[in-house]
Amino acid sequence: MGRRLTFDIFRYHPSTAGTEPRMQTFHLRETPGMNIYAALTRIREEQDPSLMFDFVCRMALCGSCGMLINGRPRLACKTFTGRLPDRITLYPLPVFRLVGDLSVDTGGWFRHVTLKTGAWLHTSRAFESSAPEERMDNETALQIYEAERCIECGCCLAACAKVHIQPGFIGAAGINRLARFMLDPRDERSAAQYFEVLGSEDGIFGCMGLMGCEDNCPKDLPLQLQLAYVRRRMAAAGFGPRGNRRK
């Protein structure tokens, strides 16, 4: 028989009147191949159906299930209990607005940053359905894809000291997202236009280079490389922290 696991889980439904934040303890017998997704589903189905948490893909691709597992930001679907001690503490990710229990509004955060930074392809060229596609070098496509692999799970933000003290900071995920468009030859924005959104304390100059982001990215994105790339591009275009037009 498997180990007897103890889960200490943060509970709070902010939109339901009359509830207070608290910790609640559950016990579960470990089964072969059990991950936190399976464990939470069982707890909800067998012990407390009011428990709120988010899973969609359960295969580390949708970014829904970020939470603090024994203090570290992790994807719950790809975290297996077998690699954890028999006492497991679960908290919602910090930084993001709490929806309830372990469920946070990462989607809202990323939507806001996408709008704030204009993180979509900017092109003035109309599409002609009969024309063949424009060519692109495969190396370039792969480089773009490498940055685009981010699943917006929020683990890097939860691990970033700067986001905690400066709520406007777009974090490594936000900078990486813009780097993706800077790499893309189809995007027509100039360095100056990128500078408008990146060249401030909320952008690249807010980063203190502490590496919490890359260490905690479940998709192993090369975040330091992307941050450095953006810094270099900004410097090459003549924009630096000194030239920062802060008001």
Binding site: S15, C57, R58, A60, V99, L121, R135, T140, A141, Y145
Partner: protein
């Protein structure tokens, strides 16, 4: 709980996967106001997980040379085992190349052709000419005569969804995420909107629109074992069914993915691997004497299941499985070309595929059935209602979908249906009576109130759901028989009664997840009954629908589509049939392409 606000818009799209967002963009581009509802933020939709790729006959690469929409047409119709509507297939194959190129304009980093030597998964080497360099590349998927699957590295769905969501944001389309449509607002003949429940607060709201589009994806999670995202519970389908006016097409047509990884059932595509049984015997050639490495999915899944039934599966705590062997490809090839397969094996099974065998088994993967529509995406029976994507039975896939045709369908049908829904909305004035809206809201409030008060009974929602999943997996799986299906129909009928008597364990207040599950369950059981009843009635084998007691395709009696209706208060669906439309390719032998 208070009746919340009412939102009014031109086009209301239920679902923010690829199909929903592509439809919304098309309507918004015509100057209409569009609101999208989604259970989750759009970028977390099920579409995001599709890694393989998308079919479009671009004919760019060496292995694609000579490809054309005509070949794509023939492959799709044969794949469908002639169960599809051919005028829809024609529209689809002709539009797919432009749809792919348009996604490049919107930012998808499609993998491109590099001139020079190219090493294929079977380790042969081909030479790509200089003239093709930089064009969109293609790879091989099962069931296609030419290499036609366009891909963005190993994250095609992700790249498409992020590009489309960027467009949605840039166009200022309103998205209400964490919002679940729970009923359609309609009068006797027209759909006027939807009642929705806020998954943050539990509040009920009304959304009114001139055109309503169901883009809620598939219902794989009716089954106990599925590759699908856990939110794929088919609520959009049951919303339509519950009107008693709209109908579902071909619900018995369910696809099983041959190779998924226990116990998470994540698909691991073979990419040049061998399937082995417990004796490490490479068994596919016994069944497929000619060199057909990638037969149709339904064929592979049946062969695997037969092997397991013959006692040649490997026992495990998660049931019997077979092995997938990719070791001969070498560590370097696996790390480079099969990156996500390697990651899944490592992260979800603790396996290094370069050194170890991968356990695999077939589970539910895709539903060909859905809300029956015409070629414009307009639902049968209810004006102003449209459906698109996996939630629809537009009928591109018939009884077996080709890999890669679903992602392609989402964007092609999104264009086509979005345009038609927009045209409909432009020609329509919004007439509704506030009494009608209040009545629909009150009906849902009443459901919630009764559940919270425990007035219906004390059945446990999760226990019933589990039973439903087991019944479907056991009797409506890869192999079906008359007696098994009768058992399933009876058991599901009983479950349908019990599903009306659910009582909550929790308080049901606010955004309580158990309340949501309890509201969904009766509709889900009705969908399960549509699958089982349709399968029991169809006394032939076609594509994925395989009846052991009727192993042959029967074009004389069954070259048709099942339509399932659910009259108000009924205990079972009413089944009707309509012929499939054949315009170009008359039914013939379904050859497995090499």
């Amino acid at each position: 709980m208070s009746a919340g606000r009412t939102h009014i818009t031109d086009v209301l799209v239920l679902g923010a996967g690829l199909a929903g967002e592509r439809t919304a963009i098309e309507a918004a581009a015509r100057g209409l106001e569009v609101v999208i509802l989604s259970l989750v933020p759009p970028r977390r939709s099920h579409s995001t997980v599709a890694q393989g790729g998308l079919q479009a006959a671009l004919g760019n690469s060496v292995m694609s040379q000579g490809d054309s929409p005509d070949l794509h047409f023939a492959d799709t119709v044969m794949g469908a085992d002639w169960g599809c509507d051919q005028h829809v297939v024609r529209l689809f194959v002709n539009t797919a190349p432009a749809a792919v190129r348009q996604m490049a304009r919107w930012g998808v980093p499609w993998s491109r052709i590099t001139a020079g030597e190219r090493r294929l998964p079977d380790l042969t080497v081909v030479e790509e000419p200089e003239a093709a360099a930089g064009l969109i590349n293609a790879k091989k998927f099962g069931g296609t005569t030419k290499w036609r699957t366009c891909y963005a590295a190993d994250g095609t769905g992700h790249a498409l969804q992020y590009a489309l969501d960027g467009m949605v944001l840039s166009l200022g389309i309103t998205v209400h995420d964490r919002t679940e449509a729970v009923a359609l607002i309609r009068d006797g003949e027209k759909c006027l909107g939807a009642v929705a429940r806020c998954l943050r607060t539990g509040e009920l709201r009304a959304y009114l629109a001139k055109a309503v589009v169901i883009a809620t994806g598939g219902c794989g999670r009716l089954y106990g074992l599925s590759t699908n995202s856990v939110i794929n519970e088919g609520t959009g389908l049951s919303l339509a069914l519950d009107t008693g006016l709209a109908c579902l097409g071909n619900m018995e047509a369910v696809q099983f993915h041959p190779q998924t990884l226990p116990p998470t059932w994540i698909p691991v595509s073979e990419g040049g691997g061998y399937l082995l049984d417990r004796n490490l015997d490479y068994f596919m050639p016994h069944y497929q004497p000619e060199n057909n490495k990638q037969p149709y999915r339904d064929v592979t899944a049946r062969l695997m299941q037969e092997r397991i039934r013959a006692g040649l599966g490997v026992e495990s705590p998660h049931g019997p499985h077979l092995w997938l062997d990719v070791r001969h490809l070498g560590a370097e090839h696996i790390a480079r070309q099969l990156r996500s397969l390697a990651a899944f094996c490592r992260d979800f099974a603790g396996i290094d595929p370069a050194r170890e065998l991968i356990p695999v088994r077939s589970v539910q993967h895709y539903v060909m059935g859905g809300v029956r529509t015409n070629i414009d995406g307009a639902a049968y029976g209810l004006k102003g209602l449209f459906a698109v994507g996996e939630a629809a039975c537009w009928d591109l896939h018939g009884f077996n979908r080709l890999g890669g045709n679903s992602l392609a369908e989402t964007i092609v049908a999104g264009m086509a249906v979005g345009k038609k829904a927009a045209e409909f909305a432009l020609g329509e004035a919004l007439h509704y009576s506030s009494a009608l809206v209040a009545q629909h809201l009150a009906a849902q409030e009443d459901r919630v109130r009764r559940l919270i008060a425990g007035q219906n009974g004390g059945e446990n929602v999760y226990a019933l759901k589990k039973q439903m999943g087991q019944i479907l997996t056991e009797h409506t799986g890869i192999f079906r028989t008359g007696s098994g299906l009768k058992t399933a129909v009876a058991a599901l009928g009983e479950l349908h009664q019990r599903a009306q008597r659910v009582g909550l364990v929790s308080s049901g207040r606010g955004a309580d997840p158990e309340l949501g599950a309890a509201m969904r369950l009766p509709g889900m059981v009705r969908l399960a009954l549509c699958i089982a009843c349709g399968a029991l009635a169809r006394t032939e084998s076609r594509g994925t629908h395989y009846r052991e007691d009727y192993p042959n395709r029967d074009d004389v009696n069954w070259l048709n589509r099942t339509l399932a209706y659910w009259p108000p208060g009924a205990e079972k669906p009413v089944l009707k049939y309509e012929p499939v439309r054949i315009t170009e390719l008359t039914p013939g032998k379904r050859a497995t392409p090499a």
